[in-house]
Amino acid sequence: MRTPLSGWGRYPVGISEVHRPERLGELKVPLHSSGSAIARGLGRSYGDASFNSSGCTVLTERLNRFLDFDPSTGALECEAGVTIGEILEHFIPRGFLPPVIPGTKFVTLGGALACDIHGKNHHKDGSFGRHVIDFSLLTADGGLVHCSRDENVELFQATVGGMGLTGIITQLRLRLIPIEDPRVVADYDRAKDLDRALELFHESDERYKYSVAWIDCVGGGTRGLGRSVLMRGNPATGSEAAVLRPEKRRGISVPSTAPSFLLNRGSIRAFNGLYYRKHPRQARGVLSGYESFFFPLDGIRDWNRLYGRNGFFQYQAVLPYDDGRDGLVKMLELLRKSGPGVFLAVLKRFGSGNPELPLSFPMPGYTLAADVPRRGSGVLDLLSRLDDIVIDLGGRVYLAKDARTSPEAVRAMYPHLEKWLEIKSRFDPANRLSSDLARRLELLP
């Protein structure tokens, strides 16, 4: 079947041959046929990483079997199509949480591994790959290769964060973390500007397992540039859960049928202003359900459609701590001047990265993720100027979010890319694994 596919940002769109294997053996079929293939989980990467318009796209959603669980170690073995949501559903009752929880639960573990995703606990626990014990990879030659930190180490390192371009991940073992209660005891702090937000991060981030800030990229005036609301918390303990008051569900819900013209400079400003003010200056010990704490946007199905047919870019970059603050100021100033403005943006501190993983995104520093509507002629230019700031400071953009950067920029951002290309060329000399992202960024040796 040939069908149009896109990432979560709804841009770009590619027409691809699509396979959806239901048994493990059927996974080999697309690799046997001529042409190239890429695996796609739930298509939550934003740009063009999850489809291959010059070959086939393999949907892994039906290969989602749980295979083994050891409650004494928390080690869970399952197929790559299992989602974070399914783990929450089946393992919270057993007293376990995924080690890394992204901003949506509609993410497959194969995608999580291929993008080496991070969550609100990155500053404490690192990225997804750190918690993966081992995995099996269907490589270009049709062989199944077992990869771990001791076995096929190079392939392991090139695959974690490797955007699916080294093979199709069939199954993996992941270490879940034991919990007493699935809820989070959260503290909220309003920061009047970027400097205050960063100050709060540095003062007290180590006290929290989960930490993230919403940041206003449109309002606040010159003095309030980067005003934020920090949302940080720790897993509730059994005794806390018994005494704390549950949070009141407060929230601005966005109707999913809203036409795209509703999202304009005025409404974006109004929304962000309202969001800032609806939070108290400070709140302590708010017992939050894990769904509302981790997945505030999952409640609004298909929220990406708010941006209309043109779609949107999510620009996410990390800036190293040195000069990171100045870089953020420059980025925020550029974003504020841009056409329709940034609807939603998030700021977070990363902990240590994974220098041994050549394409893994996180590194110590500040990461800013901003949703930019794909509207007006200046958007691509704006994002290129953001790239320049990022490269200048030694940062990088997140490939799972990217839909528009250049091969040259990626080479400047990922210093170990050459090493990755060398590993890819050894395991996939004919580039049987390819995606629109791979061709755009020349990730094909």
């Binding site: 079947m1 699509v18 959806r20 239901e22 048994r23 493990l24 053996g25 059927e26 039906r62 079997r65 749980f66 295979l67 083994d68 669980f69 409650p71 197929e79 949501g85 929450l88 559903e89 089946h90 919270i92 009752p93 057993r94 007293g95 007493e180 209660d181 699935p182 809820r183 549950p246 359900g289 894990y290 769904e291 509302s292």
Partner: protein
């Protein structure tokens, strides 16, 4: 799943469950529909015996259900087309679960390639062999057991394609139609012995049979089939269509007079 999900006390973390309602044998257990049926029956408190051709794949399905439902799930190798082996297979199953066998569900089937079946009769024969001969063979042995036991249920997953012969898939349709008649006769025979026989006629279900052939929005989630069968077994139904509206679609299609129907291109 709720944001406020409570942990169970440490004594029953995902392991303890109410006493089993008996074992359900699922034949052809590696398809998506079978997986959905198995999950639904595990949910309803049954233990499972999954049978199919590929042991590796069976073991994956079984492991998954054990983790998702904390059910007792066993596996057994079974080849629908090898009818010679069916008597031994049934003997093995009965030795294995005996009186605990609450029911059997025949899910295996082969759509095949209708174009190829026109020119290559061996392929047509294979379609008939799996869908009709294989199903009636294994059910013959099992029916005798249930008749003697005086209780239990037999479920056959047939197809709406068996309700009327059509140019596009009449080999598959005739085999499924044969299966529907077989089940009807079996129902007539076993009703007085307290054994339920349920015929299930799925319409478009979102599996590899329909993937790319039928627009995705017209194909129902396989889960729908599992839930419908559990409910129909509980309510002692005879024939169900899934999703339910296919009963009316097929009613209209069956009512068309042949002189009209033969001119259509359905």
């Amino acid at each position: 799943m709720s944001g406020q999900a409570k942990l169970r006390s440490s004594s029953d973390r995902g392991t303890q469950r109410p006493p089993s309602a008996g074992t359900v044998l699922i034949l052809g257990a590696t398809s998506q529909i079978a997986r959905a049926i198995a999950l639904s029956f595990a949910n309803a408190g049954y233990d499972l015996l999954l049978a199919g051709r590929a042991p590796d794949e069976l073991e994956r399905v079984a492991a998954d259900i054990r983790i998702r439902r904390a059910a007792d799930v066993r596996t057994e190798t079974f080849d629908a087309s090898d009818t010679e082996s069916h008597q031994d297979f049934v003997a093995r199953v009965l030795a294995n679960c005996g009186h605990a066998l609450a029911g059997v569900i025949v899910v295996f089937g082969l759509l095949g390639d209708s174009e190829r079946a026109r020119s290559d009769f061996s392929h047509a024969e294979e379609i008939i062999r799996i869908n009709y001969v294989g199903a009636s063979s294994v059910l013959t042995h099992l029916a005798n057991h249930f008749e003697q036991a005086g209780r239990g249920f037999i479920v056959g997953v047939s197809s709406v394609a068996g309700d009327r012969g059509r140019a596009s898939n009449y080999i598959y349709g005739s085999a499924k139609g044969g299966l529907s008649l077989f089940l009807q006769g079996l129902r007539n025979r076993l009703h007085s012995r307290g054994v339920q026989v349920l015929t299930v006629k799925p319409g478009f279900i979102d599996t590899r049979m329909t993937f790319g052939e039928v627009p995705a929005r017209l194909a129902a989630d396989p889960e729908v089939v599992g839930k419908a069968i559990v409910k129909a077994v509980k309510k002692q139904k005879d024939v169900i269509y899934v999703p339910w509206f296919w009963r009316y679609i097929m009613w209209v299609i069956r009512l068309l007079p042949e002189f009209v129907f033969k001119r259509t291109n359905l």
